[in-house]
Symmetry: C2
Subunit: 206 residues, 2 copies
Amino acid sequence: MTDADTQRMGAAADANVVRRRGTALEDAIFAAAESELTERGFTKTTVKGIAERAGTGKAVLYRRWPNLSELVLDLLRRRSLDLEVPDTGSVRDDLREFLMQACGLLADLPPDAIPGLVASTVQNPELARQISERIGSHRFEDVFRAIFERGAERGEVRPGPYSDRILTLPMKLLRHDLVMGKGVPSHSDIDEVVDVIVMPLMRTAG
Amino acid sequence: MTDADTQRMGAAADANVVRRRGTALEDAIFAAAESELTERGFTKTTVKGIAERAGTGKAVLYRRWPNLSELVLDLLRRRSLDLEVPDTGSVRDDLREFLMQACGLLADLPPDAIPGLVASTVQNPELARQISERIGSHRFEDVFRAIFERGAERGEVRPGPYSDRILTLPMKLLRHDLVMGKGVPSHSDIDEVVDVIVMPLMRTAG
DNA sequence: TTTCCTAAGGAACCTTGCGTCTCTTATCGG
DNA sequence: CCGATAAGAGACGCAAGGTTCCTTAGGAAA
């Protein structure tokens, strides 16, 4: 009986051994991934680190995800994108409310997470699309359109139709700071974007 | 005499051996780096690949740069930032001209280069600052201010002063796409940013 | 309860690239 | 010519990505 055999038998006899399956295991993996990302950043996070933290083996992770980036992408997928469309009676307040919600979705990601994900998946158009979607892309346009159209009916802003450039403007400005490593936009950042750029632009006759 | 000894002596006797020093060597390294980046993308480019392509050893690269990211950053540094301030007589054309120049500096980088660089350096504030600068940052504000002030004198746009939010707007929008892995903005991207966002905003009474 | 199937968990393995070190010697300047 | 230095080549250690193999816990069905 070799040392390895002894070790295996030892493990098998260990009363604390508890194997998880399915959802419970995946929850543990996701929780471990979030912690590793927060503590180490995306660039320094490893599959091994997540596996160990989740109390499992690398092979278990690779049975589910082909690589780290797709695991992290799945982590983003779990966050609800069902944001509420604010209806405060004022375009300005609707925008501020919604942008705060949207930015809050990514508040706990380390600054290198988005650029790191983008860099590692840019060659794969489908993954690139999913990332773009997860961090707020085309879905958000519908919300902004609804806010502007409602405001146009109240005479607050110019009437539509609104081009993609307009509908993507607010998120692009805030996301720019996020992906450039400046961290999550603050409330005053959001206020400035709305008050200095978006509202003046939307009031013009165009 | 071992095989390794024979090999070394063989190399020493090789009439084609030409060692480069200083600038000539660095030029060869930068040229190799550009080619590797173009062919493989940032994520797949290796120090080894660049060294081999430059006909030198890894240690030579590490004598100059602590890692690949700083080599690539130095590559960006070599590109002149002395962009001309256009004076076409029209704000719109000045903007388009300048933005085309600015974007042209990065035209040959693969789409994962900027996000990759950002991700790998975000934890280092000084490097992050330099990258931000290389892909168009605070220096450009002066150019935009000059263009707008000239236009205001002609009555084309509203008068100053112009906040940072205004002065950073065009580059942020283009840079957003760049960092999101969309590649270098096209001329029509630039036209849209100018015509749909910047000019209407700058014409408003504010 | 027993049986069977399957995936969990652990460990070993291979490859690749980062980064380092050593040694020979080409190159340049004095 | 001589001396100093960095180029070039190769070896090395380590870590992480990804893979494979084996034991066995866990769940479902009989």
